[in-house]
Symmetry: C2
Subunit: 345 residues, 2 copies
């Protein structure tokens, strides 16, 4: 375990802003004695909220005042150009300068992606960073799904690289050497899907860096047959949010069905903790630390409507990634590939 | 209600072939005294199965022998070119000739789409047919999602036309005049998504034919905020299959959680019927009649791993579409648009 961990937080992002990010920060430092957090955002707002939680003078919670905020409606390019004193940008700058080892934000995904890309730059050889998250499966281990919305469309080379980066993330998180990598498609047969996917499948099949196991369909995501599932950002984002929607629907319908009969009503009361626990298990909110991979720094994206608990989970994810030194490990693989490519040339 | 209904069935498609399609056909004719079914496929296999169900001499079950089958691995273009005596093709030919008013298949989606397109042709003015299905929501009414995989990529005009066709289907099924139409995107803000979606949003906004209500995210599908949600085929297919996967996961995890404690174990026994009913409600298998819209004929696609019950649901969906005269209603709208376009020219 690292003894000196500093993480920068964008306190103003997401639907709830400081209302969820501040309780999360307080919980995180109280749970981890090695953790220092730099809270980027409006000083007054943050101080007031910290005071209400008796944590204004916490020695490991440092406020860094920022005048501006990146809203959800802000165009990514505008955010990069004109939001230099925003909480999101300052948090990223702290990673760039080395003052913080990682940053966490629940703000505008597109803006965070563009800004992180601009501020931190990509690792050598990486075409595009991707957003990756763990998703629950029927088995003990989750599956790592990427890209979740950082890149709307992706070409074959990008999908292939996502496979490599996903392998590193899953390998580190699951403690396995050869994570199984699959491509999300609309059928298991080789003829299905579009050109980019077919080409990416070929690249993965030929690569020594990836343990490619073929296509997966949407219904296979949760079976646990793969450790990593690769898709373009639009598709991954829709898949993840669809999970969220259907999980809510099932829980609601189940509770409603129980309430219809007196006998079941009593059961509903007893079942409530199980249902709640299950909902948390399948809700991506709990697997909240979606991370940007492929950058020269660690950036964790928390859900836009992250609760304090979810934002805390994202901070924990950032801590784990610092401990696992993910960017260095990804860089080492791409360096090897690059030197091989150069040798062939 | 129509008194003379004839529907052609592709008996050999799907993962279970005649094992699910024949019990389904028997149930369907027994449940509807006006329904005649033409069973296309291997005569011997069908006769043997019918005999085992004491239905070989049923007066409204007519066998049409076909020598060939379109397998799941068959390329769509190959299916069209060389599978002229397949159960899928013969069923479509029966619709084309007017002998049947609709057909149902659980076979290779891509091949069915290409073949239906080739045999039945599109309605005047329609750019591409789409696959549409009802999906459960939190409210009483389902939402109609299209395209579910007939067209991997779609341009703005195609998405716009899917909105029009979806409106007709939802309007007829839900009995409402102005169904709310939405576009599936990766954010609710106008800046989100790719060019095709932004252009389609403009077309829908300007159109008198569509009651456009803006973007939906994956999590909104099940909220019931829209009656029709439009997306490209790749995305729709992944979304639908993701639902299937997560519904299975939740049910499994719930049952497992109950089995861990003795008290809950007894409950599990009592809860089994509720869980089963709920699973059916949220499982797309039950909303099984995915239909190809935009063609000069009715084609219902049953799920590849359709059970007898699910295949029966697809036959029922075909009956409803015949009664609602869906292709005529879609044609009337496109004719109006077309004559308007001509007038403007």
């Amino acid at each position: 375990m690292l003894t000196n961990l500093t993480i920068a937080l964008d306190m103003m992002g997401g639907d709830y802003g400081p209302r969820s990010s501040i309780p999360a920060a307080v919980r995180a430092v109280n749970a981890n004695a090695n953790l220092k957090l730099i809270l980027c955002g409006n000083e007054q707002v943050i101080a007031k909220q910290l005071e209400s939680l008796d944590s204004l003078s916490h020695p490991r919670l440092i406020i860094r005042h920022c005048n501006d905020v990146v809203t959800n409606a802000c165009e990514p390019a505008v955010a990069v150009r004109s939001k230099k004193d925003s909480s999101m940008r300052v948090a990223l700058d702290l990673v760039k300068s080395g003052e913080a080892q990682a940053c966490v934000s629940s703000g505008n995904t597109g803006a965070l992606f563009f800004m992180a890309h601009y501020v931190l730059k990509m690792l050598p050889g990486v075409k595009r960073p991707a957003l990756i998250s763990a998703v629950p499966t029927e088995r003990k281990n989750p599956v790592y799904l990427l890209d979740l919305g950082a890149n709307v469309h992706c070409d074959a080379q990008m999908l292939y690289q996502f496979g490599i980066m996903g392998s590193v993330v899953a390998g580190q998180a699951l403690g396995c050497d050869n994570p199984k990598v699959s491509l999300l498609n609309i059928g298991a047969e080789d003829i299905k899907g579009h050109e980019e996917i077919k080409q990416a499948a070929q690249l993965m099949q030929q690569s020594e860096l990836i343990n490619y196991i073929g296509y997966s369909e949407g219904s296979d995501i949760f079976s646990g047959k793969a450790d990593v599932i690769v898709c373009e950002g639009f598709v991954g984002n829709v898949a993840l949010k669809t999970c969220e929607g259907i999980a809510k629907l099932i829980m609601k319908k189940f509770t409603r069905a129980l309430e219809k009969h007196v006998v079941y009503k009593c059961m509903a009361f007893m079942l409530a903790p199980i249902i709640k626990k299950l909902y948390k298990r399948v809700n991506p909110d709990q697997y909240n630390g979606a991370s940007l991979v492929g950058l020269r720094g660690i950036v964790v994206k928390s859900h836009g409507n992250a609760s304090a608990k979810a934002f805390h989970a994202a901070i924990d994810e950032a801590v784990k990634e610092v401990e696992r030194q993910l960017p260095d490990k990804i860089a080492a693989i791409f360096e090897k590939t690059h030197s091989k490519d150069t040798a062939v040339e």
